[in-house]
Amino acid sequence: MRLLEYQSKRLLADFGLPLQPPKVVESAGAAVQAVRDLGQSAVLKAQVPFGGRGKAGGVKFVETPDQARSAAQELFALQLRNIAVKQISIEPKISIAREIYVGATWDTTAKLPLVLLNLAGGIDVEAANGRQMQRSRFDPFQGLSANQGRELASAAGLTGKTMIAVGEILAKLAEVFLAIDAVTVEINPLVESKDGQLIGVDAHIEIDDDARYRQLGRLEQLGPLPAIGSGRPTTELEREAQRIDAMDHRGVAGRVVEFDGDLALLIGGGGASLTVFDAIRRHGGRPANYCEVGGNPTTEKVAALTALLLSKPGVRRLAVIMNVVNNTRADVMAAGMLQGIREAGLDPAKVVSVFRIPGSWEQEAREVLAGAGIEALGREISLDKAAQLAVGRMNEHVA
């Protein structure tokens, strides 16, 4: 889960890192007051859980409380990646001598955590390389010591007090990374002001969802966590699919992504879903959705998902394709699918273009389907062939 900037700053400040948690406001009036209280030029930033905010117009500099009003109004009117801006932070503007990047993340190749230091901080940090860019893996039990931090700072070319301070910041960053089960922690930019002080101006934290259970106390203190904006807003169909999947903890029948096609797909498990979706497109089909089914979901869940997928306007047929199943029961899938089609008021024999779920309880599924006039395909029809058949049958005349 990702934290908002002000939440990240609060957390890092709690660990003794040089960040000042900003004032956070939810109205233009409060923004004016906050800037008046500061009594100096200020930065207003939209609180949204993703990068590229500055380039999208989510950061504004103001000199006076009056300017703060219009700036705040503009920020609150923004939709960044389809997320409405509900909170903005206000902090004093700093005169910057130098921008540094510090971060910690996972090196999945080395299977170790690592810290990064880049003297060319700011928005183009990814491009920088050479001496100014330093990285060091660290021990997951011990973290990074201050002397290791200083080695990095020195290797990057820092000297004197700044070298010592950055070394300590790196050690602290590694400590935070381990303590909060982070996936990413970064301070960018870490600014050296003209009077020689180091202060973090922006921060990102992402915490491992699988460790949420042991970070609850810490997370609760940070206030409501943001919804993650995807490339586009979730659709009504996708939200309904989430509700269906949540109605019972047994098995997965969801993870729907809506597409603009006419062939509904009931596909699984995860790997085979990806494979089948690619194959449908390659054979010229137009999927109405992506989904993942697996882990032996209940009849009710499968029925509800089937009915939902068929309710999408423009959908003409349904293809049901899974890999050779290990623990999902093919007969439960068949029964659920039939129930869903009937709930949608349709005739299974006309709607289903292919049904291919070989593996456990395959014979029982075959019998259930035969009663509804559907011929189940076996494992001798590959995932690719099944997809090809499904696309081919889109154009067959349905009596």
Binding site: W106, T108, D210, Y213, D278
Partner: protein, 293 residues
Amino acid sequence: MLLDPNANILVQGITGREASAMVSDMLDYGSRIVAGVTPGKSGQEVHGVPVFDTVRDAMAHCSSTISVVSVPAPAVLDATFEAMACGIQLCLIMSERVPRLDTCKILHRAGQAGCTVIGPNTLGLIRPGIAKLGTIGGRLDNVQRSFMPGRVAILSRSGGMTTEIASFLTSHGIGQCLAVGVGGDPMVGSNFTDLIRRLEDDPTTDAVVIYGEPGGTAEEQLAEHLQKHGTRLRINAFLSGQFVDDMEGVRFGHAAVIVEGGRGSVRGKTKALREAGVFVAETFDDILVGLKP
């Protein structure tokens, strides 16, 4: 080769509902499970397998070198440390949703203890005709229909696709010496590169089929390894999820980009593997190309 036919096997978390069904299927296939561990449940039996409170007690009853770990995610770190402290040499972690830091600590400790880790988040591995670890293939009849002995290894990031690929090869008369679900997490004990290194020295393996997915860097790492060291093995790969490349993602921070260098797309993985001499199948059915029955 992983999974010596004579090795004894321990199951940690054996009294769980899923583990109990798994033990029955494993025993049916000939896997030598000699003991189970669930703290607080010593004295019970699961399908005739005695249950102990600790790994140490289980080892005193009958020494094992392999442990299948099927405990709740928060207990995985402790369970695997216990196994390694008692000399387990192959640890298969089935549990899903293990915190990444715990996985890292487990792998760090395993490196020091000389223990091989498969997973977390794996359905297991199988040596067709010999034995299996985990739920891979499901019940005996399905395992026997899907897998047959031979000289091709399957390494897959998806558990379900492991069985699908084996079944497809089997139906074309191509047998397998090993099939491993390497685990679905970004960080796993044995990734493609780790396993290919082992198979390189295994005289019973001629070829390898790899199943990859979007995200992570396992495929790129393999390509880098092959560029550097070459291989005597025929390697076929199939990568699913090409459509994901076309979907707009959401960026957050720079760290992942700096470290992974823009790796992770199916397009990029395909290119890297092809440049390293791997045959990357356009369609699923093409994974057969160049594999002899």
